[in-house]
């Protein structure tokens, strides 16, 4: 209730895209273009061992032979992969060891974005301030990771991917690329060749991670893309909740964000992964600029009774192409996908999930809420499959689409494959237009138009917002309101 109210208050007077500023700092870039040399440059910058470079180069060779996928319901001009920069990093001396060594301009950036990087401030705690660890990724590098010491005491490893490659090579080698194989798809393969920073998390057996972990991705440099790589491993009987947030400056050019996220849940482990994606969506009138968000996210529920839930609030990006999925390998493992995807202006989204039931007694649940406004297009694409061994597999899918106005589009493309007779799949889908009658009813009670729309939309997405960690649910609700501003009337 408070959140709704808060939303309503906050929205007045906010810019349409409030994170669109640029940070002026000295940066270092890879030479423009993509070649074996570029890959080697990145690997060398990150001071990587030889096996990592070989892995990257193999990915690059494979990628060179692949074509961009064309099956999604999105359209964009061909991307010139030679006309981009694959590495951009703030100029620093050997990577900052502590927060005091981080460029103040970068600290200011995160402050402006409302991301708490100073542990002592978080700890001193303004009452009710969220207490969570942050890995801050600025273009291609992680600039700081907070609460590492406290987490280490619990045995939890939380660091940037580059650091993990150097400090925890055994873990990285054991798991990297085992959920999303190098050549899984065009964008994942590209990522495997040129990936820069993302987060690495390892939670040892039986440990419940003592705080929320989060990564905040910021694209700042022009003419560059971001290719983060995140790997989370929850060992037997452990639990971790992780959240990522993303923003970028407003630019007229399209910038590519091709990330790969791999989750591994061993026996009885649970991972909750939440995303609040607010990349710059491009100009709402002309469609100029904005991020191409082409992302591969997959979880492997490797152990029996393991559990992974994906929750995503997708409001930004010019184009979104992502399908956070679960491979339900372990017996009685559980996969969940909760999604709110909002498109406005000229945005295009083709998003959904894949629930792949391999093990006996596996269960999955999909709740997707798509909201289209302006002249946007919003597609839910989802696969639910059960293999012959997945006896007793169950899935429940609910896909609801809400249309605001008369110039937007919503599509639902479900794929269902049951390869044994002992599974139960349910699929429900609705498409509704934001009703003029409901709107009038709310206005007759005294709610101004924008507030009325927000209230109705918040009601529509409530099931999913409830799945987010508390403090982020409030954030997400504000974001929903802001991204729909001006969509009525």
């Amino acid at each position: 209730m408070v959140a709704v109210k808060d939303t309503v208050d906050q929205v007045a007077g906010l810019e349409k895209y409030e994170h669109g500023f640029v940070t002026e700092i000295e940066q270092e870039f890879a030479p423009r273009g993509l070649s074996r040399e570029t890959v080697a440059f990145i690997s060398q910058k990150k001071d990587e061992p030889a096996w990592m470079l070989e892995w990257r180069l193999e990915a690059f060779e494979r990628w060179s032979a692949m074509g961009s996928p064309d099956w999604a319901r999105v359209s964009f001009p061909p991307i010139d992969y030679q006309d981009a920069t694959y590495y951009a990093a703030p100029k620093a001396k050997d990577g900052p060891a502590s927060l005091d060594e981080v460029d103040p301009e970068i600290l200011k950036t995160y402050e402006k974005l409302g991301i708490p990087l100073r542990e002592q401030e978080v700890l001193a705690g303004v009452t009710g301030a969220p207490r969570y660890a942050v890995d801050a990724v600025f273009d291609s590098v992680s600039v700081v990771t907070t609460f590492k010491k406290e987490l280490a005491e619990a045995g939890v490893i939380f660091c940037s991917m580059s650091e993990a490659v150097r400090e925890h090579p055994d873990l990285v080698r054991k798991y990297l690329g085992t959920v999303v194989p190098v050549s899984d798809n065009f964008f994942a393969c590209l990522n495997s060749a040129v990936f820069s920073d993302g987060s690495f998390v390892y939670v040892p057996p039986g440990v419940r991670c003592p705080m929320e972990l989060s990564t905040y991705f910021r694209i700042n440099a022009a003419g560059s893309g971001q290719f983060e790589r995140t790997l989370i491993i929850a060992d037997r009987g452990s639990y971790v909740s992780y959240l990522e947030g993303c923003t970028a400056p407003m630019r007229d050019e399209n910038q590519l964000h091709a990330a790969v996220v791999e989750l591994v849940a061993l026996e009885d482990a649970e991972i909750k992964y939440s995303t609040v994606q607010n990349w710059y969506p491009g100009d709402p009138e002309t469609g100029k600029g904005g991020i191409y968000n082409f992302v591969t996210k997959r979880a492997d529920c490797r152990g029996d009774r393991s559990r992974v839930s994906w929750t995503q609030v997708e409001t930004g990006s010019a184009i979104t192409w992502k399908y956070p999925s679960c491979v339900l390998r372990g017996r009685d493992s559980v996969g969940e996908f909760y999604s709110i995807a909002i498109t406005n202006g000229r945005q295009q989204a083709d998003t959904g999930t894949k629930m792949i039931h391999l093990g006996e007694g596996t269960r999955s649940r999909v709740i997707s809420k798509g909201i289209s406004a302006g002249r946007s297009s919003n597609t839910y694409r989802g696969l639910v499959s059960a293999h012959p061994k997945a006896k007793g597999a169950r899935n429940f899918t609910q896909c609801d689409s809400l249309l605001i106005g008369k110039t937007c589009a919503a599509h639902t493309v479900p794929y269902i494959e049951a390869r044994n007779g002992a599974c139960t799949f349910e699929h429900e889908a609705t498409t509704t237009r934001l009703s003029e009658d409901q709107l009038f009813y709310a206005r007759q009670r005294g709610l101004p138009e924008e507030e009325a729309v927000q209230l109705l939309v918040n009601g529509f997405v409530r099931d999913v917002l409830q799945e987010l960690p508390m403090e982020f649910a409030v954030e997400a609700q504000k974001l929903v309101a802001i991204s729909l501003e001006g969509s009525v009337g």
Partner: protein, 248 residues
């Protein structure tokens, strides 16, 4: 209080109100009766500012303020409330959230401070008890899965909590059994006050046994064709609307 002069209104190409004039002084309850299609619901929507109901001539004032120049929510903030004939369902928004948001939006528009959550809940509990509603119902999404009778009670509960100055009750009796009708009417009567007025739109005399009107008007073919005391309602119940339908 409410002053309508020679009101003409159309929906699409059809003129529904054709020179309707009506005056409801403060503290009075007026009933509007009339055959189907006479324009009763149109009148309620024109007064509350529903999009698509266009006023082509005439005026409508509440306490001397021109209503027609205001948005629906601005009219609500000035104290105009419509109890809908068919209340809408609002999925995912708990009734308490909806009403409190509306109340605070109205108060904000009037430059008044917000009502605190505990104070609001106290009032909501008390009105719910009067209307014999289970308080838990108020925590559920507004009207979703409610019966016709429950929705009507929810309308009256909203009315009580929003505390409007001018209330329009559109066919509030439809869909109510005799017990529910009594409870709802008691709820409405409890809101009668010297500074408040009501317009009760109904087909049947039945409701007026419970909510006693000061005046009764017959609406036929888009205008008021007869006015009188409560006895007029009894006469209509006995003789029907034929006479007026023809006169119009």
């Amino acid at each position: 209080m409410l002053n309508l002069r020679d009101l003409h209104a159309r929906v699409g190409d059809r003129e529904i109100l054709r020179g309707l004039s009506l005056e409801v002084p403060a503290g009075e309850v007026h009933a509007i009766m009339g055959p189907n299609g006479a324009g009763k619901s149109t009148l309620s929507y024109v007064l509350t500012g529903r999009p698509g109901y266009d006023v082509t001539a005439g005026s409508a004032e509440l306490d001397g303020v021109d209503l027609l120049g205001l948005e629906a929510d601005e009219r609500a903030a000035r104290g105009l409330f419509l109890s809908f004939q068919y209340p809408l369902e609002i999925p995912g928004v708990p009734a308490l959230t909806f009403i409190r948001s509306a109340l605070n939006a109205q108060r904000k528009a009037r430059g008044e401070p917000e009502v605190s959550a505990p104070e609001f809940l106290k009032r909501a509990r008390s009105f719910a008890a009067e209307l014999k509603m289970d308080f838990d119902m108020l925590k559920r999404p507004l009207n979703v899965g409610f019966s016709g009778g429950e929705k009507k009670r929810m309308e009256i509960l909203q009315m009580a909590l929003l505390s409007p100055r001018f209330m329009i009750l559109d066919e509030t009796d439809s869909g109510l059994d005799i017990d529910a009708l009594r409870i709802v009417s008691e709820g409405v009567n409890a809101l009668r006050a010297p500074e408040r007025s009501m317009l009760v739109i109904t087909h049947y005399q039945r409701l007026l046994d419970y909510i006693r009107p000061d005046r009764v008007h017959v609406l036929a073919a888009g205008r008021i064709v007869a006015s009188g005391g409560p006895e007029l309602a009894l006469e209509l119940e006995r003789d029907g609307y034929d006479k007026y339908a023809r006169a119009a």
